[in-house]
């Protein structure tokens, strides 16, 4: 790993949403969507956040773009205070952080021509000279694999994959440093996914982009991410670089998650050795005391239910939050 400074640092990020009271005498409750998350993303790298629905991964993405209310913690982008910026300061920082969304059907305005959609961020954030912007839009279209003359069309005239390309061009229009990809391929057909993933890889090399990549698909994450964090109920339970993450997952949840992915390889050595988790994740409103995964964990002991596990380091930047990983870094699943 290089010595370069991280582009994005997130420290103790919390996003809590108040829930409307159900009755006069009911206590006010809170959804702990993101509950103390810290990580940093190196310039030019891809940081992946995986987790099941409701784990809070999209809320992390929205908080980094300042589209979700930040309840606690701090964020810095390129040394500047992203978490506390307001008004004009925030607008300037937003130029450097852009997001591409999951659903290419609902994230483009159907009444605007796609050229205007891609140009809008340039006009709003004063990127480049106004007379050069049309040229810049055409160039972006070529870059994402569309044709310059297609700028005059409307979103409905494109296929899903092409619309996602328009979304990518729009995200790149303000020449950002950090691009948040929130499930960018999960709404697309399998054959189209490969086209978009390859495009994202090419654009990263061409523009030196840094990606924060949110996904529930471990195959896609393994393909594109340099570093990966697993999220469960608003917190990170494991974080490691790609090689360590897949070779030796430490947290029992990561281990179960990886083993639950059906493999198309019939010769796969681990075939049929799947760990099944029972039940669903608990509600982010009434959080269990102790480890949040304890209720579904096949190894849970008494202390797991009462004590909150620390997010510990196990060498080479590999971190996990589990009581049952011993001091030599041997996880419980290896003691079976």
């Amino acid at each position: 790993m290089s010595m370069s400074e991280p582009l994005l640092s997130v420290n103790g990020l919390k996003v809590h949403y108040p829930v409307p009271k159900t009755g006069w005498f009911q206590p006010a409750s809170v959804v702990h969507a993101v509950d103390g998350v810290s990580f940093s993303v190196k310039r030019g790298s891809t940081f992946g956040v995986v987790g099941e629905s409701g784990s809070g991964k999209t809320t992390v993405a929205l908080a980094v773009t300042r589209l979700a209310p930040v309840t606690g913690g701090s964020m810095t982008l390129d040394g500047e205070n992203l978490g506390g910026a307001e008004g004009e300061e925030l607008r300037t920082l937003r130029r450097k952080v852009q997001i591409m969304f999951q659903d290419p059907y609902s994230s483009l305005n159907p009444r605007k021509r796609v050229g205007a959609i891609v140009r809008e961020p340039m006009d709003l954030m004063n990127v480049g000279a106004p007379e050069e912007r049309e040229e810049a839009v055409a160039e972006l279209f070529e870059k994402v694999g569309l044709r310059a003359e297609q700028t005059a069309l409307f979103p409905h005239q494109f296929s899903g994959g092409q619309r996602q390309r328009v979304g990518i061009a729009r995200a790149l229009a303000s020449r950002p440093d950090l691009v948040i990809c929130d499930e960018p391929v999960s709404a697309l057909d399998v054959a189209i996914q490969a086209q978009i993933l390859n495009l994202l890889g090419r654009l990263q090399d061409d523009f030196g982009l840094t990606y924060l990549f949110i996904s529930h698909d471990l195959g896609v994450v393994q393909h594109i991410c340099d570093e990966i964090a697993v999220m469960y109920l608003g917190q990170f339970v494991e974080q490691a670089d790609r090689a360590q993450f897949f070779q030796r997952p430490l947290h029992p949840y990561t281990w179960a998650l990886i083993s639950a992915v059906p493999s198309a390889d019939l010769n796969h050595a681990d075939r049929g050795r799947r760990v099944n988790l029972e039940g669903d994740p608990p509600s982010p409103i009434d959080l269990p005391s102790g480890c949040r995964f304890a209720g579904r964990c096949p190894f849970a002991e008494e202390r797991c239910r009462s004590q909150v596990p620390e997010f510990r380091y196990f060498g080479n930047g590999h971190r996990a939050a589990c009581h049952l990983i011993d001091e030599n870094g041997v996880p419980p699943q290896e003691k079976l």
Partner: protein
């Protein structure tokens, strides 16, 4: 395996379905033939719009007519012809002998009835049980699909259940009358992997007990490897390759099947240090109103020849029980 020797339970023979659209006639199914024996699982794969769900709806007798039209072919269940059956007879068959699980457990359940009512309705309709007996059956079914506290859940509404539980309710409903054939249309697409694993295990357990024939529609080759005995790969309304799951996954012949398998980043234990470029299938599925004379995949195919543009490839046997419709792939005889 001598599965092939036993008489087929469900047979689809040269099924043709057309839809009239503003742009002309779209042939959404063009000569589909399938044969399934009892207790077998057939996986149907392909991109959206290739006819997977339409095949399922045709078997269920649920093709909206108009604008749809069954232009030809036969569907037989245990020897009985379904395409000419009366609507009354189809109502007896649907939910009783053939039932279906839909992709979206959120939208396929009725939000204003309890899940127990919805399961019981099928049983009352088909088996003439009393309301009370039917509710007992519903509770039993919820227990069979491993929903905890079934006695309590049976009185709850869909919004009170999680996505995984709703999909189990769908499965319970589909299996309440012990159907011979279960069609599962992308049953786990909306679910998380850990819940998907639970649903797959559940389907396998239930199949073992009741010898149900399953048609699994999916775009995920991993799900196919996990569940299916046989696979049919569809493209633009046709089956372009079919064979046993081993044959298709280990030795795919059709360029489209090969593409479908290798364009997905598969999870491996030892990932490579640098990011490999994924194989792409260029372009998109052509509009079904505008299929030329030749192979529908021709424009996206890296191996196309002159003949592919002018003549539709016929399904030919490459190895026993492995059929492939591609001019470029050699026949068994010529190997």
């Amino acid at each position: 395996m001598n599965v092939a020797r036993t008489a087929p339970l469900l047979e689809v023979d040269n099924l043709q379905v057309e839809f009239s659209t503003r742009r002309g006639i779209a042939r959404v199914l063009d000569g589909i033939s399938l044969s399934l024996t009892a207790g077998e699982t057939l996986g149907i794969v392909g991109e959206s719009g290739c006819g997977k769900s339409m095949t399922a709806l045709s078997i269920m007798g649920l093709v909206p007519q108009p604008p749809g039209r069954i232009a030809g072919g036969e569907i037989r269940l245990g020897g009985e012809e379904l395409l000419g059956a009366t609507e009354l007879r189809m109502r007896q068959i649907r939910g009783n002998e053939i039932s279906m699980i839909f992709q979206e457990p959120m939208t396929s359940l009725n939000p204003v009835y309890t899940v127990g009512d919805q399961i019981a309705e099928t049983v009352v309709e088909h088996e003439g049980l009393s309301k009370r007996e039917a509710m007992n059956r519903a509770t039993e079914m919820l227990r069979a699909v491993k929903i905890p506290a079934a006695e309590q859940r049976v009185r709850e509404y869909p919004h009170q259940l999680s996505g995984g539980m709703r999909q189990r309710v769908m499965i319970a409903m589909a299996l309440a009358c012990r159907p011979q054939v279960l069609i599962a249309d992308e049953p786990t697409t909306a679910l998380d992997v850990t819940v998907q694993a639970q649903v797959f295990d559940l389907l396998k357990d239930l199949q073992e007990v009741s010898k149900t024939t399953i048609i699994l529609i999916t775009h995920d080759m991993g799900a196919i490897a996990e569940m299916a005995d046989h696979v049919a790969v569809m493209y633009a309304g046709r089956i372009i390759e079919t064979g046993s799951v081993e044959e298709i996954l280990k030795d795919p012949r059709h360029p489209y099947t090969k593409g479908l398998i290798s364009c997905v980043p598969h999870l491996v234990r030892e990932p490579p240090a640098d990011r490999p470029v994924l194989l792409e299938i260029p372009g998109v599925v052509p509009p079904l109103t505008d299929l030329g004379r030749g192979c529908a995949f021709e424009l996206r195919c890296a191996m196309r020849q002159a003949r592919c543009r002018t003549e539709k490839p016929k399904s030919r046997e490459t190895t026993p029980d492995h059929l492939c419709a591609c001019w470029v792939v050699e026949e068994k005889a010529s190997v």
